[in-house]
Subunit: 212 residues, 4 copies
Amino acid sequence: MPTSTLNSFEPRKTPVQARATFTVDSISEATIQVLLSRGAERLTTTRVAERAGVSVGTLYQYYPNKQSLLFAVLENNLNQVASAVEAACEQTRHKPLSEMIKNVVEAFVDAKMSRADISLALYQIAPDVGGPALVKKAGQRSKKAIKAMLETAPDTESPPDKFAIDMMFAAMSGTMRHILETGVSPAMVRKFRENLVLLCESYMVAVTARRP
Amino acid sequence: MPTSTLNSFEPRKTPVQARATFTVDSISEATIQVLLSRGAERLTTTRVAERAGVSVGTLYQYYPNKQSLLFAVLENNLNQVASAVEAACEQTRHKPLSEMIKNVVEAFVDAKMSRADISLALYQIAPDVGGPALVKKAGQRSKKAIKAMLETAPDTESPPDKFAIDMMFAAMSGTMRHILETGVSPAMVRKFRENLVLLCESYMVAVTARRP
Amino acid sequence: MPTSTLNSFEPRKTPVQARATFTVDSISEATIQVLLSRGAERLTTTRVAERAGVSVGTLYQYYPNKQSLLFAVLENNLNQVASAVEAACEQTRHKPLSEMIKNVVEAFVDAKMSRADISLALYQIAPDVGGPALVKKAGQRSKKAIKAMLETAPDTESPPDKFAIDMMFAAMSGTMRHILETGVSPAMVRKFRENLVLLCESYMVAVTARRP
Amino acid sequence: MPTSTLNSFEPRKTPVQARATFTVDSISEATIQVLLSRGAERLTTTRVAERAGVSVGTLYQYYPNKQSLLFAVLENNLNQVASAVEAACEQTRHKPLSEMIKNVVEAFVDAKMSRADISLALYQIAPDVGGPALVKKAGQRSKKAIKAMLETAPDTESPPDKFAIDMMFAAMSGTMRHILETGVSPAMVRKFRENLVLLCESYMVAVTARRP
DNA sequence: CATGAATGAGGTTTCATTCAT
DNA sequence: TATGAATGAAACCTCATTCAT
């Protein structure tokens, strides 16, 4: 599957009947299951439909092609993570900078780790489906929320500029991915989380002038 | 392509004759060219052979299967990066910590960016070929070199522990990937490089300071 | 779609209510629209129903299968042409032979050209639906009318035999089709019409003994 | 199959080995066999390959898609007919007009009727494969040859113009098709041939006489 | 050793038709 | 009666891999 325009990935029809809604959810769930059990390479539309307990035809009534299916699943996951970050930002306005960073990073790590297997599996399909574009788009949401939060920090003279936020987000996101793909023992998750906080915080501090 | 054992990815025969070496190099180069021009999805063995100016049969004389071909190309690339890091470490022994970090990070970024398009393209094939395992293995080399270098730092009471190095490498590697996939304007590359140095350095300082 | 017996192509129910008639007409019209806009290959029952503003289920209430739908549309078109020819024959009884030929051929050409796009499109579906058989049947009507007309010609000793009429009709019909499929510039339509008259007339004259 | 550009119908590779030439011929022949035995609607690439005694993959090594296969077969047939017409024209230069028409028409009819079943079957696939365009192209050849021949006619003051030749060809071609599709008893073939000669001849005479 | 023709399993997608609501 | 979700056979086409020449 080549990476093409994002447009053609839109779902084909919005289900109106209750039955249809159930079907769509089944397909979505089945996609993840197949991804986990067989890997991206063995993920076929037939297999997904089978797992979802519907026929292939039904699958294609809701998704115009395989890409759109993967796209939807990935998008959904990224949106959940973005929402978690947004929520954390919302709740941490007007708090000290270090608390801000801590809450955001922890929310991010927790969102990713809550279903580490899924997060990991989704990395596999990303390249087939315009992953980077999607990641970028979801990243915008998170970064916007982080920016808004940082502007309310009481202990910084001037809030970090856009580049610094981009950088921090890239570090947060990229490091997380690297750790997931390389493998973390569950015992180390906590330590990793603390250190990712530390990493982001020290960078932010370094880049931000403190109020005296 | 499922991720299987690494063993079967080894090239089939080690070329001894000059002609054979030339053929192998052609194929290797052709693989990258096809990857760049057609994408991972359209990368076929026939296409690679065509581009390399040999027949498919010949390709299969040097690589037992498609995976081994991709594996070799990816491995080669990762090794080049690891070598660059090692070289930087070698040359920065007994220098101040900040200079160490600076040199390593810059060497890493420069190695990746020297052929950004290739680095980016290779991310696409990684999942098909046991990428994470390969990345991990190449990472070991870099981290070992970094560790050795850090132990010669004159200005730290105790050198950073293994975890801290893992963390820094994950940050370096992951952030780089994120930036490559998200897209950097050439104008920003320099700034990104500086900030990645800053990010790693401030983390290292923070983590080193903890143990006075 | 295989060519099967003509029987199964009959519409499923004859609409008695006004609403039903309207529905049937919509479907019929929609079929032509889809044929024109998407081509025979992309003509699906769902698409037709959509265009007609009804559900597929409804479509299948009036036509037992896709063939019967196409059959009905084609038959209808051929009947219109046959009617035009019959009318022309009716109005040209007892006129000179040349006038007879002129009127019939012109009526035929005009009927086909009035919706040249539709005529052309229908040629596409003919093979799927027993087109030749239908053409033959509609042809009988025309030929019968032509024969009756010719028998009233005052200036022929003996009217042309059945074979000659078959031949003329084949020429008229086949040449028309060839011209439609090959493409005529609108500017040439008039000239074509004149020449088709001439062609048919000179053949008829050649084949018919004149009254002295 | 929609009618698309003619370009993509070109065969994929020209066979160099003897084995390959044999394969290509087998496929070509099998296409006609399947067309005759199962009809255009039941003509699948798998079925053709099966009949040819090769695998589908092999078929697709020589034809990029189904259309190109049908296109090649149709084109070949039309070219044979065009060649027959050209040959007849060649041999009838400087003969009286009536003999010219006779020879051309008879050559055309004989070419079509020599494998009436194939000619008929090919009409079915024409719409799927840009038939009209192909017919037009093959027609050009025939018409060019006819024109050249007519210019050598000793008994016409001025040779018929291009339009007249177009018209005659359309009549010849279209009438033939109509007769093939409608069905002729073998007994009537001779009579039909004579009458098609008469039809074309009397039209040509009529149209030539017009310009004294 | 190289070649490239052949293989065929398997993947994606379409669409006529049915039937529970 | 109308609806439209569901069906699933079947079509087209790709591509890693083999092996006779």
